[in-house]
């Protein structure tokens, strides 16, 4: 169901899940674009492991980007006014992850919806979690 306005939003509803592209090629381009591409951390699994990391990482702010995209896919009328993310544990490039969100508040007077959001890895371990405040226009 397409969410066209706040009247379509139900308290407790789950957003359609989103499985983003976490490929190393994509992560590497993202890291270069935000100026974090100089080291191996986001670009090379073997070199990242030599630095003591479990592999090349997905930047936390890329997870923020995935979450914003999920909200935009859910509703073309949604404007992300605030997104707050906690980087709980590393998200590894080339490993699948799944994004989920649930509606925790709907205020039809102000047009604002609040969501709890999370990014989990293949083992369904939470890597990133947070909240989003979404305004409907």
């Amino acid at each position: 169901m397409t969410i066209r306005n706040i009247d379509d939003v139900e308290f407790g509803a789950e957003l359609p899940t989103f499985e983003p592209d976490t490929s190393l090629a994509s992560v590497s381009q993202f890291a270069d674009a935000v100026g974090w591409g100089a080291g191996a951390r986001f670009k090379d699994h073997a070199l990242a492991r030599k630095e003591g990391l479990p592999g090349a990482l997905v930047p936390g702010i890329m997870a923020m980007g995935f979450l914003t995209t999920m909200i935009h896919k859910w509703s073309p009328a949604a404007h992300v006014e605030r997104i707050d993310t906690v980087f709980r544990a590393p998200l590894i490039a080339d490993e699948p992850c799944v994004l989920t969100a649930v509606v925790t508040d709907v205020d039809t007077d102000t047009g604002v919806v609040e969501l709890d959001v999370s990014v989990k890895n293949e083992a369904l371990e939470t890597r990133v979690f947070g909240t989003a405040k979404v305004r409907f226009r």
Binding site: F18, V27, Q29, V34, G60, I61, T69, I83, D84, T85
Partner: protein, 147 residues
């Protein structure tokens, strides 16, 4: 062990950095596309409301991470999270200014010692001084016992 209340009294809300930025159009596009974004105002530079996504706003970094006289806490600072508040469209290609202050300081103690949490807040404005966005960075530092 450092006194968190004293740190708050000395450093909370104290502006410690002012940095100018221009968000590159192509980099903004790459960040949006690699995030899987398809919304036209984030992926089409010809869209009349073309703007930067929250993720690239979160990447804007102050010239300093902490105020100049902030005490050494020991340990390796970790990126604990980011938050972005969008008040108005942040346009690529236009001059921006980010002013940064410490918005919160707090501690949590556990079996492995005390962790200090520092929240630095950057307020991003355009050349006319209009407040466009706020970016919070959460830094977590495991305190060295002798700090």
């Amino acid at each position: 062990m450092l006194d968190v209340d004293e740190l708050k009294a000395r450093f909370l809300h104290l502006e410690f950095d002012s940095t100018n930025f221009v968000i590159d159009r192509d980099k903004a596009l790459t960040v949006a596309r690699m995030s899987g974004e398809t919304r036209a105002e984030l992926t089409d530079p010809s869209h009349p409301d073309f703007q930067a996504s929250p993720a690239i706003i979160a990447s804007l970094a102050a010239g300093r991470r902490l105020p100049i006289h902030f005490p050494e806490l020991g340990g390796i600072p970790m990126d604990g999270g980011k938050a972005v508040t969008c008040l108005a469209a942040v346009k690529p290609g236009v001059p921006l200014n980010g002013r940064t202050h410490l918005h919160d300081i707090y501690a949590k103690s556990g079996r492995s010692g005390r962790m200090i949490f520092l929240v630095s807040r950057m307020e991003i404005r355009d050349a006319e001084g209009k407040h466009l966005a706020t970016s919070d960075s959460h830094m977590v530092i495991r305190e060295r016992p002798d700090a």
